[in-house]
């Protein structure tokens, strides 16, 4: 059956599309094109003159040990954020799904962190873990742990991972819960009668059936950790100490805004763009191939 709406007017569809296209062009395509354009240029320190240098910015980047270390930091950071975010929220969703009393309350509380802006989440965690006045720092000190993420790079990384994961758990939780609820109860009952205990039911039935959700979330979480964690990092460690938590997107901002290297920063953002495009393509290819059971 034809489900498409057919307009009689020739121009009405275009007018209806216009707002969306305007926004996309203005806020996505235009800046992206600008980034590509600037990435081929070198500017003087005052931004008065610029010179077209082809791929020099890119070549320089891949020789720059700071940039390569930022890659390693990002890789570690996103693996930590994505895996721990997914594992924790899967555990929470499984538990919330099996809870009988007060299920709604659990679900509501678990979704709340999603409403908190990344910068505020960052401030919140920075405050709780603040080296001098943080409440958790106080208890850690009582346990004999010397907690100071301002000078300790492992602790700084741990802090931004925790804050980022905390923000993203709600999102993952929602998808996992929806995924769990779409598995017919009778499947698990059939497995129970077939002799599978709860643990085995999870690994042989639930987990495979959730795999499309898990894969989708893996991609979304990597994208999240690459880009949306900017606010968390800016509000806490600001990439430090040293470059310990300077992930790629933060370095784009730092090099472009603070270090005034517009060309290098643009080249970095073009590379980031390429990464996110690749991830999205993989995601669509994969999901399309095995979208339904």
């Amino acid at each position: 059956m034809e489900k498409r709406v057919v307009f009689k007017s020739a121009w009405l569809p275009y007018v209806l599309l216009l707002p969306q296209i305007t926004i996309t062009v203005l806020f996505f395509f235009w800046p992206a094109a600008q980034a590509v354009y600037y990435s081929f240029q070198v500017q003087d320190a005052f931004g008065l003159t610029s010179k077209f240098v082809w791929f020099e910015n890119y070549i320089y980047l891949f020789k720059d040990s700071h940039y390569l270390s930022s890659f390693r930091v990002t890789a570690f950071f996103s693996v930590m954020v994505a895996t721990s975010g997914i594992v924790i929220s899967l555990v929470l969703a499984t538990m919330a799904d099996s809870v009988v009393r007060g299920a709604l309350a659990y679900k509501t509380f678990l979704i709340w962190p999603y409403a908190v802006a990344p910068a505020i989440a960052g401030v919140l965690w920075a405050f709780i873990f603040a080296p001098s006045i943080g409440i958790v720092t106080y208890f850690l000190k009582k346990l004999g742990v010397d907690w100071n993420w301002i000078i300790n790079s492992e602790q700084a990384m741990l802090l931004v991972v925790v804050a980022s994961v905390w923000k993203q758990i709600s999102y993952n939780f929602l998808f996992f819960l929806a995924g769990l609820q779409s598995i017919p109860k009778s499947l698990l009952e059939a497995a129970a009668i077939d002799g599978a205990g709860p643990f085995r039911r999870f690994w042989t039935i639930v987990f495979p059936l959730l795999s499309p959700t898990t894969f989708f979330l893996l991609v979304m979480n990597i994208i999240y950790s690459f880009f949306d964690t900017f606010g968390v990092i800016d509000a806490t460690t600001e990439g430090g100490p040293g470059d310990a938590t300077k992930i790629l997107v933060y370095k784009v901002y730092y090099d472009g805004v603070k270090a005034a290297d517009l060309g290098g920063s643009s080249a970095q953002s073009v590379i980031l763009m390429a990464i996110v495009v690749t991830l999205t393509v993989i995601q669509f290819r994969y999901i399309e191939r095995r979208v339904q059971y």
Partner: protein, 355 residues
């Protein structure tokens, strides 16, 4: 192979008792069908036997052993679900082998059992397929295959044919019958379809609103319904009911017509009596029993026979007559009840008089 028995079993959700005290014994190798309208609790009873629900009180025994506290997996039963409940990410073979692998059977033993079940159910060529690549009937067969390979003490069927189209349902019904003849495994089958119940059951259990109304062989239940509910539920089209008042040795059902009460139940009849007559127990003209003058509202000519619909004193009557001597809608028509074929029920309690 096993006997299943329920003694004094009840089930409550919160304060609501959905299954009232139930005693059922299902003999070894028997095919028992639990039938009733949706929401009557038949599936709940089945799920209590399976161990998917706990009973609130009472005792459930399988093969003589109390199983109230036993996990579903240790009850040695297999269940076929309405939506088949096949594992969508596993092949047909793996679906059937799943339970056997968990029970750590030897590989060649699993292979042998699955191949045998596949042969019985004609699934041989589909073993490598995923459930989504099968038709409804094939999925249903895989679900049964998964039950068969386990070689359990009992099969539990929860409305297994409800998701199939009418033609396939008839075919699968015959296959289930054949299967039971071959395997002779104790089977409990839940359905809301009285035709399935009549055709499949060795004995059927008619359930209404959490109460077992009657247990018996299909024809026995059909011929001797214990209550208004059973009489109305079993048989298609259903039995006609005429509420009436006691009048001497008979029951006045309206328009001056008195249906005589058989002598043996006169004593037990109260003031208000409902007379029941099955559509096929009417004959055109004078058949010896009470005679009804009807104005025919609608005629359904089915070929072999015809169904006449008519109003009588506020009740809706359905009369089945031979197919080719059919009156036209709107005409007057006289029918009579075959002698001894009227049923009498206490209108208040719904119980059959003398039963």
């Amino acid at each position: 192979m096993a006997e299943i028995s329920l003694q004094g079993v009840t089930k409550s959700f919160g304060k609501t008792e959905v299954i009232h005290t139930t005693d059922i014994t299902i003999n070894d190798g028997e095919f028992v069908v639990m039938v009733g309208p949706s929401g009557c609790g038949k599936s709940t009873i089945l799920r209590m036997i399976a161990g998917l629900e706990t009973s609130t009180t009472g005792e459930i025994r399988i093969a003589g052993k109390r199983v109230n506290e036993v996990e579903p997996k240790d009850r040695n039963i297999a269940m076929v679900f309405q939506n088949y409940a096949l594992y969508p990410h596993m092949s047909v073979y793996d679906n059937m082998a799943y339970g056997l692998k968990i029970r750590k059977l030897a590989k060649d033993d699993i292979e042998r059992r699955v191949q045998r079940a596949a042969k019985i159910l004609e699934l041989g060529q589909y073993l490598k397929r995923k459930p989504r690549e099968l038709s409804g009937g094939q999925r249903q067969r895989v679900a049964m295959g998964r039950a068969i390979v386990r070689e359990p003490a009992a099969f539990l069927f929860d409305e297994p044919l409800s998701n199939l189209d009418a033609k396939l349902r008839v075919q699968m019904r015959l296959e289930i019958q054949k299967l039971h003849r071959e395997l002779r495994t104790t089977s409990v089958y839940v359905t809301h379809d009285q035709v399935e119940a009549m055709t499949l059951a060795n004995r059927m259990i008619v359930i209404n609103a959490g109460v077992v109304e009657q247990i018996g062989a299909p024809l026995e239940v059909y011929d001797n319904p214990a209550s208004l509910f059973v009489a109305g539920f079993i048989g298609s089209p259903s039995m006609n009911f005429l509420p009436g008042l006691r009048s001497g040795d008979g029951v006045e059902v309206g328009e001056g017509l008195v249906v005589p009460l058989p002598p043996e139940i006169r004593g037990s009849a109260g003031e208000q009596v409902t007379v029941g007559v099955r559509p096929e127990h009417f004959v055109a003209g004078d058949g010896g029993g009470p005679r009804f003058k009807l104005r025919v509202d609608t005629v359904e000519a089915l070929g072999a026979d015809s169904l006449l619909h008519a109003g009588f004193n506020g009740s809706h009557l359905v009369v089945r007559i031979e197919g080719h001597s059919t009156p036209r809608a709107g005409s007057e028509f006289e029918v009579s009840v075959l002698p001894g074929k009227a049923y009498f029920f206490d209108t208040g309690t719904g119980k059959r008089l003398g039963a």
